[in-house]
């Protein structure tokens, strides 16, 4: 394509350039991808002269105000870019740095792995490093971590917040799973479900009757057809009202935690008519203590092995005997070095021998 020659032509080009840029901005966000037909439809270029149009676009692209994209059909299209962003490009020293920045820019809030940058830009390690250095010093980009791939060195535009996919959502803080936060919310959800499973919801308004001899009552008593088992929507609402977190916890986020509680075997989904709620499992084995009090107690006595949430799990006959969790179970056989007849665990279990002199040392600190 021949370059424009005359001053007049240049001036005309400049006007058309501005005109096209502004018109495109009016017709959509930075995300919108304009095909050639779209641009012709803007009616900016006189007579829709294709070669003139292409000249204008080329000029805008050179100024980084337009970004070429490939459209689904294989056709070329364009997005506009804000002047501030464009300025960042034009302020960069060389093509390579621009290229690198372009790749990071394109990746958006997901960020991009440095290896992928290298591959796509097809440049040397040293060059890439230099580019990154420049970009970082200008404050255009910053490194980030992706929870899914925490070992990857990733970069993101400094002015963008990493996407939820990259951060892992509200349950992550700085790319780390916020276990304390999760535990706290889990506790609230569990307590809410527990106190809303039938009987407990009535709180203290009903006196606990003296159970007949031999009949152990306690915990939550259920009733068939109870239709107030909390739904995820209700739980979410409740959490909002508690104002426990500055983060916005959506229904999906709460559902994720509810699912975990289901997997933990603490609650179960129950459908009454078409309403799907949740209730505690083994209701009669639940304690009626307040959450705070129980937590205090259980944290004060971790040696009792009581879980913070829910009743103690049903014990299994295999782990009541030494064999169930025996560290040398696979080796154990009569006639071998490890055998029932020489087993120290069984002796200890039966109370025939004291625990061996060298106690279990936590964290590998070796007693001399």
């Amino acid at each position: 394509m021949a370059a424009p020659k005359s001053e007049a032509e240049l001036a005309k080009l400049a006007i058309l350039k501005d005109e096209l840029y502004e018109t495109m901005k009016e017709h959509g966000s930075e995300e919108r991808e304009f095909s050639q037909a779209d641009i012709k439809g803007l009616n900016v270029i006189p007579n829709n002269n294709t070669s003139l149009l292409l000249n204008v676009i080329q000029a805008l692209t050179n100024e980084k105000l337009l970004v070429g994209v490939s459209l689904p059909g294989g056709e070329i299209g364009w997005r506009w870019r804000s002047k501030e962003d464009a300025k960042k490009y034009t302020s960069l020293p060389d093509e390579a740095t621009m290229l690198v920045y372009g790749i990071i820019d394109q990746a958006g809030s997901d960020g991009v792995w440095i290896r992928h940058i290298k591959l796509r830009a097809n440049i040397q390690d040293a060059t890439l490093k230099a580019c990154i250095k420049v970009l970082e010093s200008k404050g255009y980009i910053s490194s980030m971590t992706n929870v899914e791939m925490p070992n990857r060195k990733m970069y993101i535009r400094s002015d963008l917040k990493p996407s939820e996919r990259a951060t892992g959502g509200p349950w992550f803080t700085d790319g780390e799973l916020d276990e304390a936060f999760i535990k706290a919310i889990e506790g609230i959800i569990f307590e809410y479900i527990k106190t809303h499973s039938a009987y407990m919801s009535r709180g203290t308004s009903l006196p606990q009757r003296q159970p007949k001899k031999g009949v152990v009552t306690g915990g939550v008593e259920a009733r068939a057809g109870y239709k107030k088992y909390p739904t995820v929507n209700e739980i979410t609402e409740f959490i909002h009202m508690q104002k426990v977190s500055s983060a916005m916890l959506g229904v999906a986020d709460i559902q994720a935690l509810v699912d975990v509680l289901v997997f933990d075997g603490l609650i179960e989904p129950i459908k009454v008519n078409s309403r799907k709620g949740y209730r505690v499992v083994r209701p009669t084995k639940q304690d009626t203590m307040s959450y705070a009090k129980r937590q205090q107690e259980r944290e004060a006595h971790p040696e009792l092995g009581q879980p913070v949430l829910g009743p103690a799990p049903v014990s299994s006959a295999v782990t009541e005997a030494p064999c169930g969790r025996c560290p040398v179970f696979e080796l154990c056989q009569e006639g071998g070095p490890v055998a029932p007849s020489t087993c120290v665990y069984f002796q200890e279990w039966l109370g025939l021998k004291e625990r061996p002199a060298v106690p279990a040392v936590p964290n590998g600190t070796v007693a001399s």
């Binding site: 925490p150 009541e320 009569e334 279990w349 279990a360």
Partner: protein, 265 residues
């Protein structure tokens, strides 16, 4: 290409996070590494009862004429075996090799020890022979003897009897006996105390291994024959119920019978 490897290594089961590596200290592991052994569970009343009944059932089975008590185990009998021959030879060894010279000698107190049987004694028990293969019928009749053509001598009545064993273990020691209706016979206790003490010392002196030998088969046969003769002599005895459990008259043939298996389980 190299990046693909990285991706895949992340998801293999044995991948370890470099931030959180598995530390190997290079020391050989202990035979029995430290392990937080659980506590035996506390049994429910029902379980205690079930256990009582199991133990009683076992004791009564041991008291049967069909019971063949295994010789005392030794460390050797636990040695690893390779193949059937070694297993078989392990049993073969036991009878003679494990005789303790100190206790193999007949002593007075030995008469109180329970006689051991190496073969079930079918002679005094009734059987529904129609449900046994013919090749076992002679055995059930007590006619399965090595000396091919022995005279038929076990023709006494074959009768079933109820077990005399009514307690086991804790009940005997009555530390938490359920019924506790076993009244110790103090006179007898005193009279026998001396013998027991003597026996105790002998056992102590003899070390910890077995202190009774295994009768070999011929002796057993002789004993059987003897017992059978006695049996025949007294076959009109109403209380031959006791003989169901032991053919040794010296020990068991009292005329009153024990408490009977009634009311104590």
């Amino acid at each position: 290409m190299s990046n693909r490897r990285e991706i895949s290594q992340n998801s293999v089961p044995w991948f370890t996070d470099p931030k959180d590596p598995i530390i190997l200290d290079g020391k050989p592991s202990e035979t029995y590494p430290a392990y937080d052994v659980p506590k035996p569970p506390i049994l429910t009343k029902k379980e205690e009862k079930q256990l009582d009944y199991f133990l009683l059932f076992r004791e009564q089975a041991h008291d049967s004429a069909l019971y063949t008590e295994p010789p005392p185990r030794t460390r050797d009998s636990r040695r690893r075996t390779y193949g059937q021959d070694q297993i078989n030879s392990r049993y073969a060894d036991e009878s003679k090799a494990t005789i303790d010279p100190f206790t193999a000698v007949e002593t007075y107190s030995k008469r109180f020890e329970r006689k051991k049987r190496t073969l079930p004694d079918f002679s005094s028990l009734p059987f529904a022979k129609e449900f046994f293969p013919p090749e076992l019928h002679a055995t059930l009749d007590g006619l399965d003897e090595p000396g091919a053509d022995r005279k038929r001598r076990r023709t006494g009545p074959k009768t079933l009897a109820l077990s005399n064993i009514t307690t086991y273990g804790a009940d005997e020691l009555e530390d938490e006996g359920l019924q506790g209706n076993v009244q110790p016979n103090f006179n007898k206790a005193l009279e026998l105390l001396e013998n027991v003490e003597k026996e105790g010392e002998e056992a102590f002196l003899s070390g910890e291994e077995d202190d009774w030998g295994n009768e070999d088969e011929d002796n057993e046969d002789a004993a059987d024959a003897e017992a059978a003769d006695q049996y025949d002599d007294e076959s009109e005895d109403d209380y031959n119920a006791e003989q169901y459990f032991d053919n040794d008259e010296d020990d068991y043939g009292d005329d009153m019978g024990d408490e009977g298996g009634d009311g104590t389980y």
